[in-house]
């Protein structure tokens, strides 16, 4: 008898009380990558250099932070660069491999030791940079071959900032 009574009570209560139904909905979205980069310099001038010298820094010096790019992105990114051979327009030139580049979130960390030798094709200078790095500093070093003809030489340096 007691067992039947105990069984009856919850049935009655469930009939009196309000009912509720619930379901879990999974809401998903993929946020796309976005990127903007503003280069804060347009030229790097090494001034007057002597032949047969290595790893000359430009003026102003790299560690001042003169050469930098402002990056606004929501994903990891990389910095790549290539360059043309140095040419004076009068038939004299020297190889782009004499130019080295480095990229660091802190200008003071730029170092010739960690720099990359430039090539006609893209070289990754910095990779997997965190999106919190919104200013990337670039460093340049130039070596002059031993018998290089005295003249003014130019190279076009193409830099790319892109999400990885």
């Amino acid at each position: 008898m007691n067992k039947k009574l105990l069984l009856a009570i919850p049935i009655i209560l469930s009939l009196i009380g309000g009912l509720a139904y619930a379901d879990d909905v999974n809401v998903t979205s993929q946020v796309s990558k976005s990127m903007s980069a503003i280069f804060q310099y347009i030229a790097v001038d090494f001034g007057t250099l002597s032949k047969d010298t290595v790893s000359n820094a430009p003026t102003p010096d790299n560690t001042v932070g003169e050469y930098n790019v402002t990056v606004d992105t929501n994903y990891e990114y990389k910095f790549t660069a290539n360059a043309t051979d140095f040419d004076d327009g009068l038939g004299h030139n020297f190889d782009v491999a004499n130019l080295q580049m480095d990229a660091e979130p802190v200008a003071g960390d730029l170092s010739y030791v960690g720099a990359y030798t430039m090539d006609h094709s893209d070289t990754i200078i910095a990779n997997n940079l965190d999106p919190s790095v919104t200013t990337l500093y670039l460093g340049y070093w130039l070596s002059i071959p031993a018998t290089q003809y005295a003249s003014s030489y130019y190279s076009t340096n193409s830099c790319t900032v892109a999400n990885v």
């Binding site: 008898m1 009574l5 009856a8 009655i12 009939l15 009196i16 009380g17 309000g18 009912l19 509720a20 139904y21 619930a22 379901d23 879990d24 909905v25 999974n26 809401v27 998903t28 979205s29 993929q30 946020v31 796309s32 990558k33 976005s34 606004d72 992105t73 929501n74 994903y75 999106p131 999400n163």
Partner: protein
């Protein structure tokens, strides 16, 4: 012992009868289990899911009024990146078509002499065409004031929208816009003006339903034009949070509920795939 048994049996019958009379039954069949917004851009607002397709719906069978409530978890990519559930809004309606947002009619009117009124040349918003919600109301006025500088206040159904400034006697153009949404509860709304110079009660009101014109008797203007535009929608989405909140309440005769979802992505939100769990609950009220 037998007496007690009879009494208990009697109580059981009574309670069962009471439950049949006063109790509510409810069943809800969810016809969807996920909402995929696809690929969205950071710093974008109110991206719509496939709301108009009507694929997010539930079938209800109940004999009492009921309410829908929902909450949600933080959007998470499982790799340490998140954004707040408050970026997700949702609403329900009896038809998915009501999730559309449209640009409202633009009303244009012109004044002659000292009485300005919006002419009947354009199709006036009729009562049965009125949406239940009007947002982003914009009122533009162009006129030449015969008197000194004047401020004109603009209201819709008593909700103050803003003021429009007219300077001097030369032709002047200005406008005011409100990004708020206003509920249209009775199928019509009233556009009214008030301002630096007194407008009579009768002349400063125009009822879009009955009068089908808006006019204001204002001697200071030699001429005046007005454009009224708005966005309208039948929805005011509810911002979700971690705790349940009521989305809508329906009578038992409403057996099909359609859901709409909108998602905003914060600026510079890390590019990844995010998910949130949104429990939707039906309960009798």
């Amino acid at each position: 012992m037998k007496k007690i048994l009879v009494i208990l049996l009697g109580m059981f019958v009574l309670l069962s009868f009471a439950s049949l009379v006063k109790g509510c039954s409810l069943s809800a069949i969810f016809n969807f289990s996920s909402v995929d917004f696809g690929v969205l851009s950071e710093n974008s607002i109110n991206n719509s899911a496939l709301n108009l397709d009507g694929i997010y719906n539930a079938t209800i069978d109940t004999d009492c009024s009921y309410q829908i409530s929902a909450n949600g978890t933080v959007f998470d990519d499982g790799s340490g990146h998140t954004f707040d559930i408050g970026n997700l809004t949702m609403d329900s309606d009896t038809s998915p078509i009501n999730f559309t947002t449209q640009q409202g009619n633009v009303k244009t009117g012109a004044k002659s002499a000292s009485v300005w009124h919006i002419a009947n040349t354009s199709a006036w918003l009729q009562k049965d065409n009125l949406p239940s919600t009007i947002c982003n109301l914009s009122v533009q006025m162009y006129g030449g004031a015969g008197g000194p500088n004047t401020l004109v206040g603009v209201s819709i159904d008593g909700n103050y929208i803003g003021q429009i400034f007219f300077s001097g006697a030369s032709a002047y153009y200005n406008s005011t816009t409100s990004s708020s949404c206003y509920a249209v509860t009775d199928g019509n709304f009233t556009f009214s003006l008030s301002g630096g110079r007194a407008l009579s009660d009768t002349d400063s009101l125009g009822d879009f339903d009955s009068g089908q014109q808006v006019y204001a008797d204002y001697y200071g203007f030699t001429y005046l034009y007005a454009n009224i535009s708005y966005d309208y929608s039948n929805i005011i989405p509810k911002v979700l949070s971690s705790s349940p909140q009521i989305i809508d309440t329906y009578s038992s005769s409403i057996t099909d509920n359609f859901f709409g979802f909108w998602l905003s992505i914060p600026a510079m939100q890390y590019a990844s795939t995010y998910s949130s769990t949104v429990p939707i609950t039906y309960a009798n009220v």
